[in-house]
């Protein structure tokens, strides 16, 4: 099995499965917290993911990417079970590009709290793709498999996520793309 705390065991089941799963918990948790923006939901989500992974551990093929397999379970569980239970405000791409900060930032200096808030304002699909590729380091192909979409879709979402973050953090001014009516933006005046 793959995993950071991999230990060779004589039997394929039992302790080595546990150890492999334990090794991925920090990343599963970080992804769940960053994706949901909700510590409580994230804990429930990781819990449910571990339960499902354990229950279907015979379906996992040794030698394949364990982390990717677990991340797929987690995000599928989130989108099919957990998201329905909460109403989420969607910051639709191209809607009013209100900034989190009103003063332009020097390139290289970002407030971490602002960054976290900006991340949570992204449309969830964009946030998911950005986290998989930019934070977890999955390839575009791996991220596409995890998210169940085309590679081009992941790339587009990652691009847009970055652009949106840059706007929210005042690295760039809001977009003004006359060719695309959906991106008509109004922006807050610098305070």
């Amino acid at each position: 099995m793959n995993g950071p705390s991999e230990r060779e065991q004589s039997s394929p089941a039992g302790p080595s499965v546990r150890d492999a799963l334990v090794g991925t918990i920090p990343n599963l948790r970080a992804f769940a917290i960053s994706l949901t923006g909700d510590h409580s939901m994230a804990n429930d989500l990781v819990q449910e993911t571990l339960l499902k992974a354990w229950a279907s551990r015979d379906k996992y093929q040794a030698g394949t990417n364990l982390k990717a397999w677990l991340f797929t379970i987690l995000r599928n569980t989130y989108f099919s079970q957990f998201r329905k239970s909460r109403r989420e405000t969607q910051d639709v791409d191209g809607a009013a590009a209100a900034r989190l900060v009103s003063l332009p930032e020097q390139l290289g200096h970002l407030d971490m709290a602002d960054f976290k808030r900006a991340l949570e304002l992204l449309p969830v699909d964009q946030r998911e793709s950005l986290l998989l590729v930019g934070a977890e380091g999955f390839s575009y192909e791996e991220a596409a498999e995890i998210a169940g979409c085309a590679v081009g879709t992941v790339k587009s979402r990652v691009n847009r996520a970055r652009v949106r973050l840059a706007e929210l953090l005042a690295i760039t001014p809001p977009r003004d793309l006359p060719a695309r009516p959906a991106t008509h933006v109004t922006h807050a005046q610098p305070g």
């Binding site: 089941a13 039992g14 302790p15 499965v17 546990r18 799963l21 334990v22 918990i25 920090p26 990343n27 948790r29 970080a30 917290i33 960053s34 804990n43 990781v46 819990q47 571990l50 339960l51 354990w54 390139l107 290289g108 970002l110 971490m112 960054f115 976290k116 991340l119 950005l130 986290l131 930019g134 934070a135 977890e136 587009s156 691009n159 847009r160 970055r162 652009v163 973050l165 840059a166 690295i171 760039t172 001014p173 977009r175 793309l177 060719a179 695309r180």
Partner: protein, 74 residues
């Protein structure tokens, strides 16, 4: 305007770190230039890494211990 490539035409770089892409299907898209991408990526990894470094909550270890225990009782 740069020469059209097989998939994407990029316009000249703008001072605000954004680059416009004309996709092969005629869609106009936008992405950040490399310096802004690096800045975003750097901070994303820091924010994310802080959570990854946190100790694993007991509830998950307890869960796996319990699952393993039940398995061994069978």
């Amino acid at each position: 305007m740069s020469e059209p490539q097989s998939q994407v035409t990029e316009t000249k770089r703008r001072p605000d770190h954004q680059m416009f892409l004309l996709e092969s299907d005629g869609e106009l898209d936008v992405k950040l230039d490399e310096s802004a991408q690096l800045l975003i990526g750097h901070h994303l990894k820091i924010v994310y890494g802080e959570i990854v470094e946190q100790p694993v909550p007991d509830q998950f270890l307890n869960l796996l211990d319990e699952l393993e225990r039940k398995e061994q009782e069978r």
